[in-house]
Symmetry: C2
Subunit: 574 residues, 2 copies
């Protein structure tokens, strides 16, 4: 069972739950219209379904053999990538001045979901190029832009993002890679681990974006600078950087994860991006975009697993029922898969709309407020979506029964692939800490409270719709919003105490469940309003009555759950 | 990081939470004493840790190559198995008349956890032999027992359990393998899939326990008979059964999962076990025992993943903290892992005690009541423990961060291995249906209500202990018991309606969380009582305040969650 991009679902969520329709009507996107959006989605859906999806299993089996410093990508991958770039997909949201199409980030988010639903190992490469484009565009000097930006936008060259070192994972400030000033540029020496697409044969050049430390730099994150280090230098010679090895991973086998070595021959030539010692700000630009994209990987793999399981459940006969989808327990699994996927999708797309508004809204105040909204939602989009990616893929195996455990079926690959997304681009624990310590306190809590008010308006709309098919949706979502509000208020009062940090992960889940549930309800309302004949209220109701109801226990876990943490270390050591 | 069997934890849970201490005091086990129990556990722990655990990674990499109908087990496996059997572990709980030691099933359960914590792929083989011993002992005629039982008990030969066919998975009644009467015995033709250890080189003979259908048998499960089909016949000739292929699976690579073919040369010779057409009763004897054992696999792999993560978290430095265990979010993960594992362990061992009482208690009434208790707990022991096996293994990856996704670390193997246990021996969905449709209604609900009363007594004991370290434990557990009682009452009133079936999975989780939480509290009470100096109250409190609190939402999901199910099929098909 292969993947078919769910284009009409995607379009519906984008327009009605995430707010693209309103944004278009307000003129945020100039003269862009719905028809253009629909045709872009349809075209992306075709490419993802017809060209990329069939490569997913080949990629898993072939992997990325590493020999004499070079990585071979699986059969068919280079052509698929080249054609994909030539069709302009890499530059969909990139600046028009540099060859991009400058279409909405929210639309690009929908496309990123499709590339990754088709193949996570394929989709992650361009995510890093797009992040590199953002950083270079925002912070690079004109010379660097002239040399590199056009080719990164077109996808002729790909980019990488290099933070991690053995002693510096979540703690970026501990990195040791050195940069020394030389001939007006820099020489980079050291090594990096876990570098996605650090070496490969898809493009002739690879542009590495590398965090390193100058000899006279302050300690910690305030002494880090960002450098552009091309694999091939402008004069055509090979730079002093190489892949040393490729990891043997649980999944995304076709995405080469490399250990990189700098400075075998005295140091790789690096070009500074932004100012010395201000590299973290540049890197955060890259990371925020990449975090949303990784959230979309979670959505994509969840969608693929759901399609796979649904097809199996409709076909597989067992016992007196015609097919196993008739069994209530199987329906519970499929409804859980379908609605978690839809909830995560809506959150990610809404984050994309907030990013667009932060760049395109008419007033400074609107742009600032949208920027804060995007900041608030990004960790939720990343962590909630990737957590549910693994959960949905696991349910996908379960629906298949014994067949799900056999690799040939493909369900197991989704399970293996999905698991990375909760780890890279900042583990989900780091996302939860970011949410609790930096995002909830934004503007003294105004940002989160405004968002909660919006969710409450959705609850009111469901209530006043009086549509019987909603069942207890309004009541349950209302309780969830109450819980989110209480937990947020409690966190704001706590500041970043250990008790607050202990509740970070359940708080993020509470946030995701509540926001996702409200957005599914928005979709159902839009479906009733537009009379499109779909049964979205079934999904909104299932989610409210079976998933959003976790709110009260999550709230308690946040506000009352840390009592045993103080003595935990001693107890665990026994 | 390898596995060290947690012998003292295991002994504590067995004695204080599962009730071995009381059972010993009551004389249920004759003159067996605690010292003997302790020394058996210590010896099993040594063998599991020192001999089996080091084979786990080798087994994963080597797998079970299949060539010309034969399966090769990984290097070192045959010696480890042979020595294990020679030490008497296979017959630990088997009848003394046939060479077993007739020790408690609860003690055997603890040992099964250790074999599987050391290596799930190793541990699952003997599970099936033990199940075969039970069926043969209960239903076989004297001649078959003379020929086979002693060698199965000693482990000189291993057994298999053969139900599944391509069209007959969870629906056993649909099986088509044929048995025809011939020369006083039977000839078996057909094929079976997903046969664990169906072919291997650990033992000279393999004794297959095969479900098949006689030509004149009634349809469905009432027309199924159980046959003993040895690989090698008593005259030394090869029987007409062979492995046709071995599956390529997500995990437990060293456990050969075979497709078996019967009747290339006219039919395999089979010997009837029990009566014709009464095979399901025999098979249930095997399955119930195997279900508890698979639950113990979940406990074992969860324990191993917890040890692995804990060691990493205590060693890995990141940021200003000395090691990542100091971070509250990491502690939350480790506490979740540790307490879910402990809860599942206690439930499984308590099931073992109930099995022992069902066989050894002094009066018929006590034995009957214990049998019902074992019947009630078995699906919970299987499904709750294997669900948390996967969840804990997933958290184990997360604690490792990027290192967890690299296969060399070993955390990923636990995640891959763990996933099968929720599927085989009856999927966890089937366990939940069994619980809701057959076990909760036992004796008109008396069985489950008696159990709930017992849980309530634990809550009262925590309350009256007035120990401040319990925090809100009593309150939260009390609420969980209330929820379990309400949900049980609701299910009893519903009978097996679709709405009841829809809530089966959340009900089972509610049951597991509540029972597990109370048993962790029993351990904490025992720890305070005995003054053993451990911090078990930390675990009881964490579980009550962070996991048992899910009870109210699980209860609602059971009693109010099915509203959207009726329209689900149409909605999912859109």
């Amino acid at each position: 069972m292969s993947y078919r991009a769910p284009v009409s679902d995607i379009a519906f969520t984008l327009k009605h739950a995430a707010g693209l329709k309103n944004a278009l009507a307000e003129g945020i996107y100039g003269d862009l219209d719905e028809e253009t959006v629909d045709s872009v989605l349809a075209e992306a859906g075709r490419y993802a379904s017809d060209v990329i999806a069939p490569l997913n299993s080949v990629g898993d089996k072939f992997g990325t053999p590493f020999k004499d410093g070079t990585v071979t990508t699986p059969p068919g991958w280079k052509k698929a990538y080249t054609d994909w770039a030539a069709a302009g997909w890499n530059g969909l949201a990139a600046p028009a001045d540099w060859g991009g199409q400058e279409l909405p980030h929210a639309l690009n988010a929908a496309c990123i979901e499709m590339w990754n639903g088709a193949s996570m190992a394929f989709g992650i490469g361009p995510v890093l190029t797009m992040a590199a484009i953002d950083a270079l565009h925002a912070y690079g000097n004109d010379k660097l832009k002239q040399e590199y930006l056009g080719k990164l936008v077109s996808g002729e060259w790909m980019g990488t993002m290099q933070l991690t070192e053995p002693q510096a994972g979540s703690d970026v400030g501990a990195l040791r890679t050195k940069a020394e000033r030389a001939n007006g540029n820099y020489r980079i020496t050291g090594s990096k681990i876990f570098i996605t697409y650090g070496e490969h044969d898809l493009t002739d050049n690879i542009i590495h974006f590398v965090l390193a430390r100058l000899p006279d730099a302050p300690q910690g994150t305030k002494g880090i600078s960002l450098f552009l280090v091309p694999k091939i230098l402008p004069d055509g010679s090979r730079n002093d950087v190489r892949a040393h090895s490729v990891e043997h991973k649980l999944g995304i086998h076709a995405s080469p994860t490399c250990t990189m070595v700098y400075g075998d021959r005295g140091g790789a030539v690096g070009f500074l991006i932004g100012e010395e010692n201000k590299g973290m700000a540049c890197m955060f630009t890259m990371m925020n975009r990449a975090r949303l994209a990784v959230g979309l990987q979670g959505v994509g793999i969840a969608e693929r697993a759901t399609q796979h399981a649904l097809a199996y459940a409709r076909e597989r006969k067992q016992g007196p029922a015609s097919a196993i989808i008739a069994y209530p327990d199987v329906r519970r699994m499929l409804l859980t898969m379908r609605t978690l996927t839809g909830a995560a999708r809506a959150i990610c797309y809404a984050t994309g709309i907030a990013i667009d508004r932060s760049m395109r809204a008419k007033t400074d105040a609107e742009r600032k407020s949208a920027h804060e909204r995007a900041s608030l939602l990004t960790p939720v989009a990343k962590a909630f979506s990737t957590d549910i990616g693994s959960e949905v893929a696991s349910l996908g195996i379960q629906v298949h029964g014994g067949m799900g455990y056999v690799e040939e079926t493909g369900a197991a690959q989704h399970y293996r692939d999905a698991r990375i997304a909760a780890i890279y681009e900042g583990t989900n624990g780091i996302q939860a800490l970011d949410l609790v310590t930096r995002k909830v306190p934004l503007e003294g809590g105004k940002t989160v409270n405004m968002y909660i008010d919006e969710l409450r308006r959705t609850v009111k709309s469901v209530q006043s719709s009086n549509a019987p098919e909603f069942g207890e949706t309004a009541t349950r979502l209302g309780e969830a919003v109450d819980s989110l509000e209480c937990a947020s208020r409690w966190l704001l009062a706590q500041k970043a105490s250990d008790a607050a940090l202990a509740g970070a992960t359940p708080y993020l889940r509470l946030f995701g469940n509540t926001a996702g549930g409200c957005m599914l309800a928005e979709e159902a309302l839009a479906s009733l309003r537009t009379g499109d004949g779909t049964s979205r209220s079934v999904f909104a109701r299932f989610f409210a009555e079976n998933i959003a109801i976790q709110a009260s226990s999550l709230e308690r876990s946040v506000t009352e759950g840390a009592g045993s943490f103080a003595d935990a270390q001693a107890a665990l050591a026994e």
